[in-house]
Structures are given as C-alpha cells and as structure tokens.
C-alpha cells in the first residue's frame, strides 16, 4: 500500500450532434481529459476533467495541473478528504482537473468496496428528479427541428441571451407545451431580465437560470424579488463558501463538478445550500458519460437536474448514467459503474 497511486491521461475529442451555442459563444469540438488512476493492485478508477476556457483552463493546462497533482496522490484511494486538501495545497484553481481526479478516486474506492458510489453514500437513485434536455441558441427553424428531435424529453431547458430570445421562445411554443426552463448564461442586464420576467411567465417558463453576470448579486436579488419563478444561479456559485452570500439573493444554486472541483465539494454545496433553505440543482458541461455519471451520483440529493451533456454528443466513448426520456438511470456496478462503449 505504499506506492503512490498512478495517473494516466488521454485527451478525448468529443463532437456534439449539432453545433451548440450559448450566450457566451459556440462549441463544436470539445476536448476533455480522461483520467485513469491506478492502484498497486492494478485496479483502475476513471475520471474526466472538462476544462473551462472561461476559467482559463484548456486540456493542456489540465494535463499540466495533473502532473503537479500526481506528485501528491496518496497510496490509499480511501484517503479522500486529506487528498483534496493536499491537491489544493499543491496547486489552487484548476477545478476541472481536481474534479476529474476526485471522480477517478471515488470510482476506485467504489471498486474496492464493491458497491456503486451512490450506494456507499446511502442514496437512492429512484429519487433523482427528471433531467432537462438543453436546446442551444439557434435560428427559429433549427430550434423547432431540435425540439422535435428531443420529443422524448419531458422537460426542456432553452439557452437565451443571444439577442433573439422572443423568436426562440415562440419557436419552441409552436412545437410543444412541455415544461420549459430558461438559462440566460449571464446574458442579460437587470433591466432586460426584469422586462423578460412577464414574457417568461407568458410562455410558461418554470425556472430561470443565471439571468445576470456572475458577480451582480444586487442585480440578482432585484430579479429574484420580481420573479414569480425560482431564480437559480450557476456561474455565481462555485463552492460551498459562495452559498452564504447568495442566500437571500436568489432561490437556488446549480452545482457542477468543473466549478466546485470535487464530488465531496459538490456534496458540501448541497448541504450549505440546504442549511439556507435554497433549491439545489446539478448541471454538467458537454462531456462524456464519465463526467455525467460522476455528477449524477449527487443527483438524489437535489431538486433540479440538467445532466444531458453526454446526450448532446454525436458519439460517447463510455456508457454510464443514461437519460431515458429524461429519467436518469444510474449504473449498478461498483464505483461509477462506467464501461467502454463497444463499437456497434
């Protein structure tokens, strides 16, 4: 047990089915970093780091960070709490690299225990709320096509803030009366957001995510006061220590591994948010089933789920948590229960 856990990395190039646009810009090829953590017995834990350009991360910066983190890994994968402390001590920031490592370590621990991670946490996957499926910013024609293609999903999340919000809402409602949530990805001003509130209501929108830039807490408080629907923040909330100042401003927080840096911190955000009676959501990036399955372990603890990142891919190299008509099904194998997709 005295040999340090070993890391192997590989860049995964993922492609979305359709070009995917949000208020901040457009994605096509997505590059994430596959992490394999090996113990002395040859057991392997899988993780995925999904670098966020907006936080100064690239696949290459993730690889560099993992070089540093590899030097402070323990020999015992069970030493999770102290390992996180050491990782942060060795190199701060780099949340997506740390999240990928955390995922791999939890997968490895689950494989040692012989049970799924969610089970070792005492959670019941049957309590996971239905996941949204996301419609990116696009022309009304493409939006309508995407909505038709997503007919199996009972709840849609639409990206707004790209300048054609009304067109998009109209196009969607021409196609469907399904439940609709809106994510503006920081794309509005306070005035725009307050002006949009009655419009969202008219279109039957049930949740509004991150209407304003991340740091505008006063503005977010104003929008929340005016809103009849819950206002959830994403970019404004990274870690548990962000929660107290958000309580009283907004109605809830959206947790993502690439922001909070570990599965354990994700759970800590849940608990901090619950202590403040906030709603809790889990979200994802566009990433393979490894990243999605990791975040899905926490999903039995939350109110709102948006875990469609792998469902948006043209090809997902892994099989893990699945979205069956929006219902999140968690693997029952040990750890994350991820398997490689066999070529069909």
């Amino acid at each position: 047990m005295n040999q340090r856990l070993q890391i192997e990395t590989e860049i995964l190039t993922l492609r979305t089915r359709h070009p995917f646009r949000i208020a901040r810009g457009e994605h096509e090829d997505i590059r994430t970093v596959l992490i394999r953590v090996k113990d002395a017995d040859g057991r392997v834990g899988l993780g995925e780091a999904t670098p966020q350009l907006v936080y100064g991360e690239t696949p290459e910066s993730v690889l560099s960070a993992l070089e540093v983190y590899g030097e402070v890994l323990p020999s015992d994968p069970f030493d999770l709490e102290e390992t996180e402390r050491r990782l942060l001590g060795a190199l701060s920031g780099n949340a997506s690299a740390r999240a990928g490592l955390s995922t791999a370590l939890h997968d490895l621990v689950g494989k040692h225990l012989g049970v799924p991670t969610w089970k070792s946490w005492g959670l019941d996957p049957a309590t996971i709320p239905v996941s949204t499926f996301t419609i990116g910013i696009d022309t009304p024609e493409v939006i309508r096509k995407k909505v038709r293609e997503a007919s199996e999903y009972p709840v849609l999340k639409v990206k707004l803030g790209g300048g054609n919000d009304l067109e998009i809402l109209t196009a969607i409602r021409e196609e469907t009366d399904r439940e609709l949530r809106v994510d503006a990805n920081c794309g509005w001003t306070v005035k725009q957001a307050v002006r949009m509130l009655p419009v969202l209501e008219e279109y039957g929108v049930t949740v509004l995510e991150q209407p304003l830039p991340a740091s505008d807490l006063n503005g977010l408080a104003t929008v929340t006061r005016h809103a009849r629907i819950p206002v959830i923040v994403d970019e404004s909330c990274h870690v548990a220590a962000d929660v107290p100042r958000l309580a009283g401003c907004v109605d809830g927080v959206n947790i993502k591994l690439a922001k909070c840096g570990s599965l354990r911190e994700a759970v800590r955000v849940v608990h901090a948010a619950r202590a403040h009676h906030l709603m809790v959501m889990v979200g994802c990036m566009i990433e393979s089933s490894i990243g999605i399955t990791a975040m899905a372990q926490v999903a039995p603890l939350v109110d709102l789920v948006d875990l469609d990142g792998a469902a948006l891919l043209a090809h997902d190299p892994y099989v893990g948590a699945t979205l069956d008509a929006g219902c999140v099904e968690l693997p029952t194998g040990p750890g994350l229960g991820i398997t490689e997709r066999t070529p069909s």
Copy 2:
C-alpha cells in the same frame, strides 16, 4: 431483502465515576437506550440513544419513538438518506432516538461494506484533534483531586456557571498549567460573561463554550465581539439550518448526535459551518462507547473535540473509540468496530 430491518432495544444504566454537575443540574445514574438493528442475514448494527431531559426526552420516550420509527425502517440498510426523511416524517423531534438509529444503520452498512465507517467516508483518523477531558462543577478540593486524576489529559474543559467560577479556575491553576477550555452551559448573563472575559484570559483559557442561554444570539454576538478567544455555541446549534443565523454572531458550533439526530446531519452541520468559515467542534453526552464512537467518526472533519463521555464512566459495557492521553483512537473493524467489554 424485502423484510423490514428489525429493532431490539435495551436500557443501559451507566454510572459516572464521580457525581457530575454542570450549570443546569447534577447527574448520577445515566440511562441510555441500546439499539440493535438486525437485517435479514442476521447482521447487527449497534446504536445508542442518549435521551436529553432538557429537550423533553426520557429513556421511555425514546422507546416509544423507536416503536414508531421501527414501522418505517427500510429492508436495505444502505437506504440511509431516504430513511432519515421517513423517520422525520413519521415523528419529528426525538433527536436522540433518531441519532441512535442512525448510528446502528451506519454500523450495519459498514459491516456490509467490510470497512470502518470513517474509511467509507474517506476520512483519516490521524487528523482528529486531541480531545478535552471534562471537569464538572464541584468544590475546590474535589476539583483539585479531579484535575490530578486527569493528569494524562493534556487539555481540560471545565464547567462553569455554577456560582463558584473563580474558585474553580483558581483551584485548577493551582494544580496545572495545561490547556484549559471553559463551558458555561448557558449559565451566565451578558454582563457576567463580558465581566468574565478578562478573567478567563488571565487564567489562560483558550475556548469559551455557550456562555449565554441558547436563544440569546444578540448577547452571544456581544460576548464574541468582546472576546479574544473563540466563542463556540452548543445549546444554540442543533441542526445545519441553525448555522446561518449563528454565523456572524459566534466563532463556531459544537455538534452532538443527541441534538442533530443523525450522523448524516452531523456531517451536514460541518459543511454548513465550513461554508461560513466557522470553527467546528464535536461533543458528546455522558454515554457508553457506542455513542462516543459514533460521534468520533465525524471528528476527522473538525477543529475541537470533546469526546470524554465514556471516559467519565465507572464502567463502560462496550469498547470502541478510546482516549489515550486525549488522543482519539478509532476502531479499525467494520462499521463502528464496537465490541462488548469482556468482564475483567
């Protein structure tokens, strides 16, 4: 797996080595409730409920509550999160009964996994801070005798608020220059507390616990503002939802299973407190090693430890976590790793 988990109960009568007095009153015989939870395979998880008269609980009320809770237990001990929700739904309050059940369920899960509870939580017992040993309110002569008897413990916690505070502090400092913390158990007024602060400083006291009545948050904020040492609350903080209103008033919170109602809630209090940059302490009641060992599972996450409840007993029917010169040693057996004490 479809047969409901079964509960067996037994009242434990425990006796302290010395009569034990705090600001609120005196204890001699302590009665707690031993809980055995059995699964269909005959595996047994052990728990202890330590009823608190001050919260309207008696051993008999614990037994009555367990009758109700027994009806909503799951068949699968791993179903911890949902079970807690069901228990609270079936009967609110009764924190010590729920805590005892939570302990037994976690013990059972650990036995299924084949690892100690702390290990399945990713914690390292080597990081547990040294525990205090408590000196109850007494005459100067008895105090001096108790301090001498406790010579192996490097940190003492002394109970004040009984009307002879100065006598006690003087008696202790005549015997020892060891680290000293003070717990007033709600026994002072704001004026008394503020007047005591320079005295505590003079006697080298390092931590002040619960100087004022539980609900006097304004008073606690005043005392904390005047204090150079950390002010920690115990009676003011039961569950994670209490944390936000305490942040900004005090420096930290003391978590006890008999207040928070479960091991999972204890962890939630830690996370909520950390999100607010509060100090975290774990404490105990006078109880057997079962209750102490349960709370000790959370101790690797905290700053201050007071887990001497079983060390104060004349006879402890169980062997679990031990205090070796104040150092908490956790059992390495599966679950809580508790064994029955063999007659010597």
